[in-house]
């Protein structure tokens, strides 16, 4: 889907009943410093709907035991709930098979897993890995660690002043030695949606695999890994209204099968003797030890929740709020938006002249408004725009234009205090 197609499709979405949706999220009715909570930090972690909280509670109250091991009833029920969650993720990503879904701790672990298994086996000294200038540290450091181990060459695709991925520069960086392209689908610091289809097509033409960091994309756009034809897709449940401590690595079955295991332990083996161990098939080969059982169940419930509303509708709603916010911030004197790509999802990063983002954060917090301030685990992005940090408002399905009004009022207070 091109950017224009996305815009068209979102344009045709019926509006959401946000007030009803807000009632699904218990935390949104609480006060902070005596003020109504205005939560604008879902990019860091989203709040949880009642359905997710209840699913986790039900798991522990009614369906809990260790999985894949017991012959007794409860263990079977728990195993079935865990595997059903895997199938929900499969359908959510439109993966061909459920064994292509590996449960991990989060996006960070998913990327490290690929680096340490696929990477260590297949990437040799002088081979190239390409990332972009807008990666989260989670998609930079694992490749630097692999570079230490293998002597690979790490190449970085530059971005323009709007924070857009430069496809032409990318094309120039691709070479016959490129083994892997690992890029973000949506930037957490800038909100940019990257041209993943072209990125994947060009990489495949050179015989390189592609890993997409989907942490910021899955809450805002439907994903079809088969249509994308990406080789790996990584995301965390907690940004998708699910629990923290669980996430997903999707990988094409034949690639996963050829990869060595990640960690050793229980569940990832078929048989063990002191002389020899036979590894289990995928996905279990990559899931050593007792997993986050209730986490998987919670993720399944989160997927049910967003699917019932419809990701296109969620995206359309967020786009409207983002558009409103982008217009409204223009009235704040001197405010500089960092990240002005044509294709954006859910993120408004900005700075104010002569006010450090940390002070913006504190003043907004006093009005009950939660934004993130800092480098957003993307220090190279801060360097690219020559700022030490930014303030970032990030949106979710439950945010409203009224909350943007509160943000604007809060920013006027910042100006009032700092002059």
């Amino acid at each position: 889907m091109t950017g224009a197609q996305r815009t068209d499709r979102l344009h045709n979405q019926p509006p959401l009943d946000v007030n009803r949706i807000r009632q699904d999220f218990p935390i949104l009715s609480r006060l902070v410093h005596g003020k109504k909570l205005v939560f604008l930090d879902s990019g860091a972690s989203a709040q949880k709907p009642r359905a997710v909280i209840d699913a986790i509670k039900n798991c522990y109250e009614n369906e809990y035991a260790n999985i894949h091991r017991g012959v007794y009833y409860l263990s079977q029920v728990a195993t079935e709930a865990f595997e059903e969650a895997r199938r929900k993720v499969q359908r959510f990503l439109n993966a061909a098979e459920s064994r292509e879904i590996i449960f991990v701790r989060g996006g960070t672990e998913a990327i490290n897993l690929v680096a340490q298994t696929y990477g260590r086996k297949n990437i040799k000294a002088g081979d190239e890995v390409i990332i972009s200038a807008m990666e989260h540290h989670a998609n930079i450091v694992p490749w630097q660690m692999l570079r230490e181990q293998t002597g690979l060459v790490l190449k970085v695709v530059p971005i323009n002043d709007d924070g857009e991925f430069l496809l032409q520069e990318y094309e120039k960086l691709l070479s016959p030695r490129t083994k892997l392209v690992a890029v973000t689908h949506v930037s957490n610091a800038l909100g940019t949606i990257t041209p993943v289809r072209e990125i994947i097509r060009l990489a495949h033409a050179k015989g390189a695999l592609v890993l997409l960091d989907g942490c910021q994309a899955v809450p805002h756009t439907p994903i079809d890994v088969q249509e994308l034809d990406c080789d790996f897709y990584a995301f965390s449940a907690h940004k998708l209204y699910g629990p923290s401590g669980i996430g997903v690595l999707y990988g094409k079955a034949q690639i996963l099968e050829a990869m060595p295991p990640y960690q050793g332990g229980g569940d990832m083996i078929v048989s063990v003797t002191f002389e020899h161990t036979e590894y289990n098939g995928i996905p279990h080969k990559f899931e050593a030890g007792t997993p986050h059982i209730s986490g998987a169940v919670g993720l399944g419930a989160a997927i049910d929740y967003v699917t019932a509303i419809g990701l296109d509708r969620i995206a359309a709603h967020e786009d409207r709020v983002l558009h409103y916010a982008t217009e409204r911030v223009k009235e704040i004197k001197g405010l500089r938006l960092i990240g002005t790509a044509k294709e954006k999802a859910g993120i408004l990063s900005f700075t104010l002249p002569n006010v450090h983002p940390h002070d913006i954060g504190t003043i907004l917090d006093k009005q009950g408004i939660a934004v993130r301030v800092g480098h957003h685990c993307a220090q190279p992005v801060m360097d690219r725009f020559d700022v030490p940090a930014t303030a970032r408002a990030s949106l979710a399905v439950y945010n409203t234009n009224e909350e943007i009004d509160a943000l604007i009022a809060g920013l006027h207070k910042v100006r009032e205090i700092f002059g």
Binding site: V355, H358, D359, T362, K366, K413
Partner: protein, 152 residues
Amino acid sequence: MDDLRELYQEVILDHSKRPRNFRRPATSNRLAKGHNPLCGDRLTLYLQVEDGRVADVAFEGSGCAISVASASLMTEMVKGKTIGEAETMFHYFHDLLTGKSEPSAPPGLEFEKLSVLAGVRDYPVRVKCATLPWHTLTAALDGKPRDEIRTE
């Protein structure tokens, strides 16, 4: 709003906008760098220590209003003081921001100046911003004297 005025007092805003001793001195014999990775506050502190006294002190860097104001106030206060006095001030300040009780100001040193930062107490995540310059100062005082640092 009143709470915020308590934190962002005029003195603090003034020091953050026009920090005192904000320069790189021609000579200094102690140097330390401070960094608060959470918010990206960075400062470099230059000291000229002579006969156990802080003969000169200056800083450079960037940071939030609290850290810049705290650094600026600190340089004003410790200039001319003995190392021992500077350390006493640090402990007093540290207790003021983190201590459970109101520390009593030792006599003789102008501690009132520091009390403008007492409001930071109510903002636990910001305490580090205010104490960063002081931690950097202790690092500089503990550090071995360096070769003279020159401006180019």
